[in-house]
């Protein structure tokens, strides 16, 4: 195995389809994003572009398709520099799947979006119609051709964005975080569609199990430079190298003897202990003489457009519980969180500490709850990290000294000590997520509500976030598609489907349930299968190199 401090030289191919020569790029503020990149990609290559948040992966992808102009160096497509007609040709033959599908679906119907590039290519309307139909059928959305994109679910949008690319029949397809915010079922659908793609594939992702199913070559970026260019199998079977580049997701195996499908040993909370005695999957029973933290009876919620998000939810949550909500995209998980947080007011009985939540936004409920939103950008709006964390305590009317104490404590808790004067907008994805967490920890909430905390984070940031959450003694309610995170953080799991809780059991039972996929057609164990396959690549490599934990 190679020396991890010794960068492996980039491959030089005889007839590359796409080539970067001494490619450098700086942002407007002078920050160097890429430095003298040398990269050759042959036709048919399936390449994983990996690295930590901020390593320059997305910038490189944009340069390869000619959306950014290099500061120095050049990009060649089919041996010709990207400029003029060749640039136009490259844009029509190279597809780029954006991280946020809303960026890519800008027309007023799915049909128009998929047809957009084809018309730009100058194809006849009849041919366009045929290609649009085929592309939509490939991604299973032909029945939604006339629907406006803002009416699609996240998973549907992602597949629709893929259809806009597949319809162009690209020779090269670049994917930027294709699995972000997808449930396991949608992720598997996407994977199957991408596996059928026969052209050159460049995938940017932190999701190594997904990449292993799709790619055979790995290019590792670190601080704007290519540090390794070798096979993906070599990368994943060499934990020290992954750890060095912040890609080590093997912390996910550490809890269960290296077997991701084995039930995890999670310390049971008081409520969970009661449940465990009372056999399987019973809803949380109130401890004798205590009022439950949350008590929901026959809760319904219907959005103004008529979408029925919750249908008769009955739920009891005790203080100290750690609960996971799982289900397909659109199952009603986020709406249930919003109702628990008093952000939305449903029909039915919803109580906190025995008091009915009757007012929208929950009156003074915000003083007891900390909500960490899925997208940190929704939560961060102040000019400095100090202001961001101080915002909540200040709204609580605390003294200046107490606010200062809480700010310092919260930033230290999330390992952002010293970041007080940094601008939240310029932090990396992982740092922003931790800052969002600090902004609610500063309020010392009784309940912490987390919506997809690991989405878009690199493995190192995930590991750090996990360590922080495991140490927090508060009641936690977590919405996630990440089975490992659920196993590591929660003791009880509620499976939601079409606005109802269809299963409520201990997380250990949930993770070992062989019939999971039959619950709501979601393949919860799909990720575990991927991990197992990776482990099988180099049996023992992980354990030989595993650090002391």
């Amino acid at each position: 195995m190679h020396d991890i401090d010794q960068a492996l030289l980039p491959k030089h191919l005889a007839n590359p389809l796409l080539q970067a020569e001494q490619l450098s790029y700086s942002y407007g503020n002078g920050q160097q994003a890429l430095d003298r990149i040398e990269l050759s990609i042959a036709a048919g290559d399936r390449l994983a572009l990996v690295g930590q948040n901020g390593a320059g992966k997305t910038t490189l992808a944009r340069l390869l398709i000619g959306l950014l102009r290099p500061r120095s160096g050049r990009v060649l497509y089919a041996g010709v520099e990207l400029a003029g007609d060749q640039l136009r040709r490259a844009r029509l033959e190279i597809g780029l799947l954006f991280q946020d599908p809303d960026d890519q679906l800008f027309c007023n119907s799915l049909y128009e979006d998929v047809a957009f590039g084809l018309f730009n290519r100058g194809l006849a309307p009849e041919l366009v119609a045929d290609r649009v139909r085929r592309a939509l059928t490939t991604v299973g959305l032909e029945h939604l051709a006339g629907k406006p994109p803002h009416h699609l679910s996240t998973g549907q949008k992602k597949r629709a964005a893929l259809a806009t690319q597949l319809a162009m029949e690209p020779l090269v397809l670049i994917l930027d975080e294709p699995t972000a915010n997808l449930d396991p079922h949608q992720e598997q659908l996407l994977l199957e569609q991408l596996q059928r793609f026969s052209g050159t594939l460049i995938a940017i992702s932190h999701d190594l199990p997904f990449l292993c199913e799709l790619c055979d070559r790995a290019v590792v970026l670190e601080e704007g430079r290519i540090h390794h260019d070798y096979s993906l199998r070599e990368l994943v079977s060499h934990p020290p190298s992954m750890r060095r580049h912040g890609l080590d997701f093997t912390f996910r195996f550490s809890c269960c003897g290296g077997h991701p499908e084995a039930p995890r040993q999670v310390p049971p909370t008081a409520a969970a202990a009661v449940q465990a005695e009372g056999a399987e999957a019973a809803p949380s029973q109130p401890l004798t003489g205590t009022v439950p933290l949350f008590q929901l009876r026959d809760l319904h919620y219907t959005y103004p457009d008529g979408t029925r998000a919750l249908r008769g939810i009955d739920l009891t949550i005790e203080a100290g519980d750690s609960i996971a909500l799982v289900g397909e995209n659109g199952a009603g998980k986020s709406t249930l969180l919003a109702c628990l947080g008093g952000i939305r007011l449903g029909r039915g009985d919803c109580r906190f500490h025995g008091n009915r939540i009757e007012r929208k936004h929950g009156g003074e409920l915000w003083r007891h709850l900390g909500v960490v939103f899925q997208d940190s950008a929704d939560q961060l709006f102040c000019a400095s990290c100090r202001e961001e964390v101080a915002f909540g305590p200040e709204q609580m009317g605390l003294s200046k000294s107490e606010v200062a104490r809480r700010v310092e404590q919260a930033l230290c808790q999330v390992r952002l000590g010293g970041y007080e004067e940094r601008v939240p907008l310029y932090l990396s994805g992982g740092e922003r997520k931790r800052l969002a967490l600090a902004s609610v920890l500063g309020m010392e909430p009784e309940v912490l509500i987390l919506d997809e905390p690991t989405a878009g984070l690199d493995p190192r940031s995930q590991e750090l976030l996990l360590a922080i959450l495991q140490r927090l003694p508060t009641t936690k309610i977590l919405v996630s598609h990440d089975m490992f995170f659920i196993g590591a953080v929660t003791s009880r799991t509620l499976v939601m489907h079409q606005g109802k809780i269809i299963k409520n059991y201990l997380t250990s039972q949930f993770l070992s349930d062989k019939a999971l996929s039959s619950l709501n057609q979601i393949h919860y164990t799909y990720k575990n299968r991927c991990c197992t396959e990776i482990l099988g690549l180099d049996q023992g490599a992980y354990f030989q190199h595993a650090p002391d934990r």
Binding site: L67, G95, N108, F116, D378
Partner: protein
């Protein structure tokens, strides 16, 4: 100069009118609630989205769906100008009736129409209340006063004027439904471009329509996150600072989004002009319908001017 005729009303009569107006407002409120409930009930019935809207227009549909969009827009806009030129309440009321018939012919769901009518009802009610008090008095105009409230003088001509304006506004507002809701937005904007509206403007409307939803959702999520940390709007410097931060962040996000959308367009070969999806072909029937519709407008105008 002749003295104006003064009509004195007993105090209970305006009270009764106010009561009726309040009843009308309650009815409007109930209509809105009913419309919302109806929308909730019908939401369960999933619409068939498999047929793109640009194909829907060519499928056999109602009169307005079949009508060539360019001619439909030009005709109905021309007709709307004729309607707003009316001066008398009778022809204006007839215009409302014609618009209502058009809505029925276009098979527009009643919930949307009721919402639109309820939306402008507040303005029209205000006109009806204010204009009798403020309209300039012409020689020979009668004056109405209420016993005990002699300092308030009402001019019935003002009420007539308010009714005429109200009817014209309602007629045009109702006409918007068959004019704009019977073709896909892209089709309508393409037709407007063919009629001479600058293409850049139509493209901006098209993109704005798409991204208004996205920006509204982003703004909503940010506001929710602020409320979740206890933010309440007050009249103090702190609120001003927070709102400024919020707006600044929204602007930054919108700007970033705009750049990413432009990148996505360029990545699919965009060269500055949106592809044309709609091919218009006017048939003789389209022109005949236009002539017939405009004739109705002209007849209304003649009736208004000459009382024929």
């Amino acid at each position: 100069m002749t003295e104006p005729a003064v009509v004195v009303l007993p105090l209970w009569l305006p009270g009764l009118i106010l009561l009726l107006a309040a009843g009308g407002l309650v009815a409007v409120g109930l209509c809105r609630r009913w419309a919302g409930a109806a929308a909730e009930e019908t939401a369960e019935e999933e619409r068939d989205w498999s047929i793109p809207e640009l194909v829907v227009e060519t499928a056999p549909g109602n009169l307005f769906q079949r009508w060539d969009t360019r001619i439909k827009l030009a005709t109905l806009l021309g007709y709307a100008f004729l309607v707003v030129s009316l001066h008398r309440p009778g022809p204006a009321a007839a215009a409302v009736l014609i618009s209502a018939v058009a809505v029925l012919l276009a098979r527009i769901p009643s919930t949307g129409v009721l919402k639109r009518a309820a939306g402008i009802s507040g303005f029209l009610l205000m006109l009806a209340l204010i204009m009798p008090l403020t309209v300039r008095r012409h020689p020979g105009d009668p004056i109405v006063v209420i016993a005990g409230l002699e300092f308030l003088t009402f001019n019935p001509r003002g009420l007539t004027l308010a009714l005429t304006i109200g009817c014209k506004a309602l007629a045009v507002a109702l006409l918007m439904e068959p004019m704009l809701a019977t073709s896909a937005l892209g089709n309508t904007l393409e037709a407007l471009a063919r009629l001479g509206v600058p293409v850049k403007l139509t493209q901006m409307v098209l993109l704005s329509h798409r991204y208004l939803h996205v920006f509204a959702a982003e703004s909503q999520r940010m506001q929710t996150a602020m409320r979740a940390r206890g933010f309440k709007q007050r009249t103090d410097r702190r609120t001003l600072q927070t709102v400024a931060n919020f707006l600044g962040m929204l602007f930054v996000r919108s700007f970033d989004r705009t750049q990413r959308v432009q990148d996505a367009m360029l990545a699919r070969g965009f060269t500055g002009r949106f592809p044309v999806h709609h091919r218009f072909a006017a048939a003789p029937g389209d022109w005949l319908l236009a002539v017939a519709w405009l004739s109705v407008g002209v007849i209304l105008l003649l009736f208004d001017r000459f009382g024929l």
